[in-house]
């Protein structure tokens, strides 16, 4: 389908909406890079803004004396933000096209909000990094790229925005692209796919509709790129892991002996007949049935929330994990991880936290902080006594009992954890196991 056709439709939704694919997308940009405007433009050009929302935007834009519609008003949600004119937290924005439902995690790009960017990127499979064409690659860009690369977001779009303010010049685009490619050499996750697109969010160039002002650009528009992403490729695959969330025992006449293990399948598929090992007991059994509501299935796909029964009566409870025989994760009481610290109280060696690894919780003690990592690729700092808010560091932990983990680079779900402060109960950090 041609793109002009898509944008001329009233509502870009198909009949089998319920089977539509969901793509979660993170955005990163510095103050005034026009991130909210870009999102507003995406919503506007895909006809996702409803009449009443549009009217509200028109009214407020007029009140403030603007010459154009301020699309950023569509997303900046909280009063405090509107007063300061900045986005201060993660906001979620929704729109759909004929092929996909999109969920945008809109996160602010200031230095002090590294934690929000990490949070947004953790749930996303693709990311947009915004660059102001007048400013080019700046220190903030390093940070945005670093975080998306650290979180192993598979597909990154570098949107070079405000092209209208640099006369839509190809040289400017190429020079920024070259600077960014320089930066890409330093990345850890080399396989990350990166695409450069020149846009003007304000004028609508190459966001949804192809720009007439930049005939030299032959690539896809931002939305075309997103539309063509194949979810099969973009979800991180690995080996199947099934952390048990809840044990279902109906104790009714019809299901007298039913003992089902409810959970979500991560990484790969599990099928009836698969030989499995329950961790930590290391007891073996075979998958007897896979239930989803009142139907039975042969195979449970990635990310499905199913209930599994086993051939043998073995003791499995919440926090345990079913894995395939011969495909065990690391079972250990210690690990080293890259930690993103998110609390105003410092992380210091010797301090104890709760590690939540999937649905499993264990007590952990900070064994050693190896070094801090500058998220702008300027190097590491080995002289560290503690971690402050927004610091990223390599940290070793000792646990009070073993967990069953994979390396983050091999398994995005089973290789990550959060840290909980047992006094405040707050989530104070996130970690990616090395």
């Amino acid at each position: 389908m041609g793109f002009s056709e898509v944008s001329s439709q009233k509502k870009l939704v198909t009949n089998n909406h319920i089977k539509m694919k969901v793509l979660k997308l993170a955005t990163a940009g510095s103050v005034d890079d026009g991130k909210s405007t870009l999102i507003g433009r995406l919503l506007y050009d895909t006809k996702s803004l409803t009449t009443d929302k549009l009217e509200a935007i028109e009214k407020t834009s007029k009140q403030r004396g603007y010459d154009y519609l301020d699309f950023s008003l569509a997303t900046d949600g909280l009063v405090a933000e509107r007063e300061q004119g900045i986005t201060i937290d993660v906001a979620h924005i929704y729109f759909s096209t004929a092929t996909k439902s999109y969920i945008i995690a809109d996160t602010p790009g200031h230095v002090e909000y590294t934690r929000n960017m990490v949070t947004g990127a953790s749930t996303s499979q693709a990311a947009i990094i915004l660059i102001d064409a007048r400013k080019g690659v700046i220190e903030q860009t390093y940070r945005h790229f670093f975080i998306n690369n650290m979180l192993r977001v598979k597909d990154v779009i570098v949107a070079i925005n405000k092209m209208d303010l640099v006369d839509y010049a190809e040289e400017t685009f190429n020079s920024i692209k070259a600077d960014f490619e320089e930066l890409m050499r330093k990345r850890d996750y080399q396989e990350q796919k990166i695409t450069f697109i020149p846009v003007s969010a304000l004028k609508g160039d190459n966001v949804v509709n192809k720009s007439d002002a930049m005939p030299w650009y032959e690539g896809q528009t931002l939305l075309q790129h997103l539309e063509e992403l194949d979810l099969k490729d973009i979800y991180n695959t690995g080996t199947p892991r099934f952390p048990v969330q809840y044990v279902i025992r109906p104790k009714t006449d019809d299901f007298h002996d039913f003992r089902g293990f409810a959970g979500k399948v991560y990484g790969g598929e599990l099928s009836v007949g698969d030989e499995v090992v329950a961790l930590p007991s290391q007891t073996r059994s075979r998958i007897k049935e896979i239930h989803f509501h009142d139907k039975k299935f042969q195979t449970a796909s990635r990310r499905s929330s199913v209930t599994i029964t086993l051939e043998d009566e073995i003791n499995v409870s919440r926090g345990d994990m079913l894995v395939k025989v011969g495909d065990l994760p690391t079972i250990d009481k210690q690990f080293t991880a890259t930690v993103s610290w998110m609390d105003s109280d410092q992380l210091v060696p010797g301090k104890k936290y709760v590690v939540q690894h999937g649905v499993n919780k264990v007590l952990a003690k900070v064994d050693r902080i190896h070094h801090k990592i500058s998220p702008d690729y300027s190097g590491i700092d080995t002289d560290v006594s503690g971690l402050g808010m927004n610091d990223i560091a390599q940290v070793s932990f000792k646990l009070n009992k073993p967990i069953f983990y994979d390396k983050f680079k091999d398994h995005r779900t089973n290789g990550s954890f959060i840290l909980i402060d047992s006094q405040s109960n707050s989530t104070v950090g996130a970690g990616f196991i090395s």
Binding site: I18, V22, A56, V79, D89, V118, Q245, K295, Q298, I418
Partner: protein, 315 residues
């Protein structure tokens, strides 16, 4: 060609040709509901009789099948509900064999805890908060599952899936826990509680499409019907119940209407519609250009209306 049975069709659907789940949102919601049952001692599902909470009940059924839903439903009754909603509510809990708790805003008014609003825009929507907080305290609920969606309103776009409320039920939007991957941190202090939103990531159309696909029964007021109505501020109000304030010069006319939400009658406007089946409702929503909350007058009071109500503990 061979006929595909319902079972085979579902089998492929769950597998997904691409190795991905057919309905990621449904699977995500089931995961969240199971986390609530596992992490909390006294959870409750806040049930309004509206389509979102009806969807939640279906998802909870799926999450625990073949066991029953392991927590009660609670309805905060403003006393201004559409009678069709109440009738529907009672039938649903009866059929599913669930426990239903009802607490009334009228009682909070009678006890002098809240004061009834008066005038043209009088509504009990704000008053619900007190009744809800009292009920949470009475039953010592530590988790309240609700059907709020992030796409409904700007302030809700920032809401977490597990949203911690303090002893006063208040939401501190600047001090929210980060939520990474799909790990949900439900650790709280005594006296605190968590509001849980399993369908956070669903849009209005997602909910309607799900209701259609699952063939879920919903109250009749969601479908086109004849109703005595009057116009105010460009919105259509029900004139059949004395709950809605109507000035004498506001003319009563019969219209074919349906409701897009089933909140407090006094602040829920109708839309003119011929959609009398789910399929027609879904296609109407798809083509519609007025957002759902556009028909709720309480949000129009001010741009920051929802955020203020949320800080005070509104659901």
């Amino acid at each position: 060609m061979e006929t595909v049975t319902k079972e085979q069709e579902l089998d492929t659907a769950l597998l997904g040709a691409t190795g991905d789940v057919a309905n990621a949102l449904e699977n995500e919601a089931i995961y969240i509901i199971r986390e609530v049952a596992a992490q909390f001692e006294r959870p409750v599902l806040l049930f309004s009789g509206g389509k979102d909470s009806i969807t939640l009940v279906r998802l909870a059924q799926k999450a625990f099948w073949p066991a029953k839903i392991p927590f009660p439903l609670m309805h905060i009754d403003t006393g201004h509900n559409f009678p069709e909603t109440i009738e529907f509510r009672d039938r649903l809990v009866e059929e599913l064999g669930l426990e239903l708790i009802v607490r009334n805003v009228q009682d909070s008014i009678d006890q002098g805890k809240v004061k009834e609003e008066t005038g043209k825009y009088a509504s009990r929507n704000m008053l619900q908060t007190t009744t809800l907080l009292d009920a949470i305290e009475e039953f010592k609920f530590d988790a309240c599952i609700g059907g709020a969606r992030r796409d409904e309103e700007k302030a809700r776009a920032k809401e977490r899936i597990f949203s911690v409320r303090d002893d006063f039920g208040q939401w501190d939007e600047k001090n929210q826990r980060p939520e990474l991957f799909d790990m949900l941190n439900g650790q709280i202090e005594l006296g605190q509680n968590v509001r849980v939103f399993p369908i956070s990531n669903w849009t209005e159309l997602d909910v309607w499409s799900y209701i259609e696909a699952e063939n879920i029964e919903i109250p009749s007021i969601y479908f086109a019907h004849k109703r005595k109505t009057f116009l105010r501020d460009g919105l259509i109000w029900s004139a059949e119940d004395d709950v809605v304030f109507r000035a004498e010069d506001e003319l009563v006319e019969e219209r074919i209407v349906r409701f897009r939400t089933v909140g407090d009658m006094s602040c829920t406007a109708a839309v003119e519609s011929e959609a009398n089946t789910i399929a027609k409702v879904v296609s109407e929503i798809r083509d519609s250009s007025i957002s759902e909350r556009g028909a709720r007058i309480d949000d129009k009071r001010s741009e920051a209306a929802m955020e203020k109500r949320k800080q005070q503990g509104y659901f």
